[in-house]
Symmetry: C2
DNA sequence: ATTAAATTTGTAATCGATTACAAGTTATGA
DNA sequence: TCATAACTTGTAATCGATTACAAATTTAAT
């Protein structure tokens, strides 16, 4: 690969002029510009991003941290982030942390090293201490999961309200024994969805039965199966299940079918996220639709604003209850 | 962020010595090493990857190109790539091309710009001309999809054999009208799987009926539904369907259920890939299991070998037919 | 004690760009 | 025509590391 001096030499100009042509910054005569452009073409020159970034200390690269690429919830968000970033001349660097502090550190250090201009974190298990510390010096946005009262700007939905509406929908259908398949309540979204569940039950004077509340360690299908298996062992079985993710809900669906019961007649199921697969199950899944693409776009916009020095505000987006066959056959 | 000269000054040594401590290359006395390490700790110094890479022209970053993050097929491969990379001191940069030449170029240019040390491509729609040209100068590996007789090393499975076995399985169960839901045969894997399908039918003296072969433009669920809808309109309906991806097969399953027919009694279904969802459908999906994790590991190993200058050979990994409920109720 | 060999440390060039400032060139107006 | 303003171009410093090579120091051998 040719470098800028070779181009300058071939064009018979200085490196400064070549740089000016590349960035069409200050004025260059048409004739010299032509000479330089010819040299560039002849040598097939492309500027070294490394050299440039070292000098300008910007990379036009955005770090996106996700816990796991296998969770379909993130895919739409990422599409939003990517589209918005590219539109603004940034590229994204997608990094899977597996919720491992070690990996997370490797990636977060990129921001200190000027390898990226900022980061969007979507990992609920992120090391908030480290993130807050970094956020003092560098642009960081939290997407979907966040810290209440923290210093890092975030985009999210109203989890409490969404859960409330999901459960209320079940209650309106006549259900009284409604199970909750939640994840670990160390996560804020889990606590918020739990609050919504509680509020709906209280509002309709239904008791909160601990035996109908199950916590899983992970959001994968298998854990949904596990959860449902336990819930079906309860003396008075639930007639409806609200799971805090579609993956869990689909696992539950599978286990209910397996046990010979019918959805929604014997047990109704509601999920959360509206992942694309939620429409492929049999029956199709009632779920809360998060505006995932828009969330991604918003997060990216916020981050880029933050990178260029603008002040950004927290944003709460609207969600929607999507009623399908798993609650109304 | 402190830089190396500040550390040198604080420790009362030269920058060269600091660099030596950082890379524990040549010998440094215990006492000076101590001084430097103290200074590093005090200033909270972390070396600039940009400066280092510019000098050494290596980044210890690997580019991974996938067409779409929403296809679950890639997730396990990526896990394999990531684990192997990290074990060898490399990090990965995951990039979604959406099979867009423009985006692809942006990312592929990173390799010329020394932002990454090499690339693993998994995009069947990749611009082979550009990729081949790059491969002359830089380490590149193709994973899963590849070019026959090309110059780029690849890791894959025997697609023809896998398809042959899948169809043979259906034939052995007594099926004679077996539909094929294929993707565009401009892709090598599609042509190979088609060959396997043809071979199995021929071997058992069954006719190849064009009306039972459907090509889709994309691999998403919706296209499986579309395909099945068409196939159900055929005069003599198929009694079995072989789809070249699980996502398509799951779409087909959904459409069969929707139309009131039973899987596998009315129509049997076989997929390809063994994505994690394939076990969540009702009934669970018979499918070809690709060793995705291992494929990822292999691709990463090959690339790293290539980066350090070793010669690498093409590798064909073993697959497996996983028989589940969608073919044998 | 003296010299040679081995080890440790420092100086300065280098990677490939950008950019302030200086210098050179052209255009403008009296 | 000449002074001045406006515009082009070039020189050289800079970003933050690594690393030959040189210099200084320590160790070993006589």
């Amino acid at each position: 690969m040719a470098n800028i001096q070779q181009v300058a030499q071939k064009a018979g100009v200085s490196v400064a002029t070549v740089s000016r042509v590349m960035n069409n910054s200050s004025s260059v005569t048409a004739s010299t510009r032509q000479k330089v452009e010819n040299a560039i073409k002849e040598l097939n020159y492309e500027p070294s991003v490394l050299g440039r970034n070292l000098r300008t200390s910007e990379s036009r690269l955005i770090l996106v941290l996700i816990p796991s690429i296998s969770n379909p919830f993130y895919t739409e968000i990422i599409n939003g982030i990517e589209d918005t970033s590219i539109k603004n001349g940034y590229n994204i660097l997608l990094c899977e942390t597996d919720s491992s502090v070690e990996r997370e550190n490797i990636y977060l250090n990129m921001i200190k090293n000027k390898l990226v201009d900022g980061a969007i974190s979507m990992d609920p298990a992120v090391n908030m201490e480290k993130l807050n510390q970094l956020a003092l010096d560098y642009p960081i946005i939290q997407c979907s999961e966040y810290e209440e009262g923290g210093i890092i700007p975030y985009v999210t939905i109203n989890n409490e309200l969404a859960a409330y509406q999901a459960v209320k929908h079940l209650i309106k259908l006549g259900h009284e024994r409604i199970a909750l398949v939640n994840s670990d309540e160390k996560f804020l979204y889990a606590r918020q969805r739990r609050q919504g569940y509680d509020r709906a039950l209280k509002e309709y004077h239904l008791p909160i039965r601990e035996e109908l509340i199950y916590h899983t360690d992970y959001l994968e299908f298998d854990y949904g199966i596990q959860a449902m298996r336990k819930l079906l062992e309860v003396q008075e079985k639930p007639t409806a299940v609200f799971a805090v993710s579609d993956t869990l809900a689909i696992g539950a669906l599978k286990e209910i079918n397996q046990s010979g019961l019918q959805v929604p007649n014997d047990i109704a199921v509601v999920g959360f996220d509206k992942i694309s697969f939620s429409n492929m199950t049999n029956p199709s899944l009632t779920t809360i639709s998060q505006p995932m693409y828009k969330m991604g776009c918003t997060a990216a916009t916020m981050l880029i604003n933050s990178v260029v020095g603008k002040k950004v505000e927290n944003i709460v987006l609207d969600h929607e209850l999507v009623i399908r066959d798993s609650t109304m056959g």
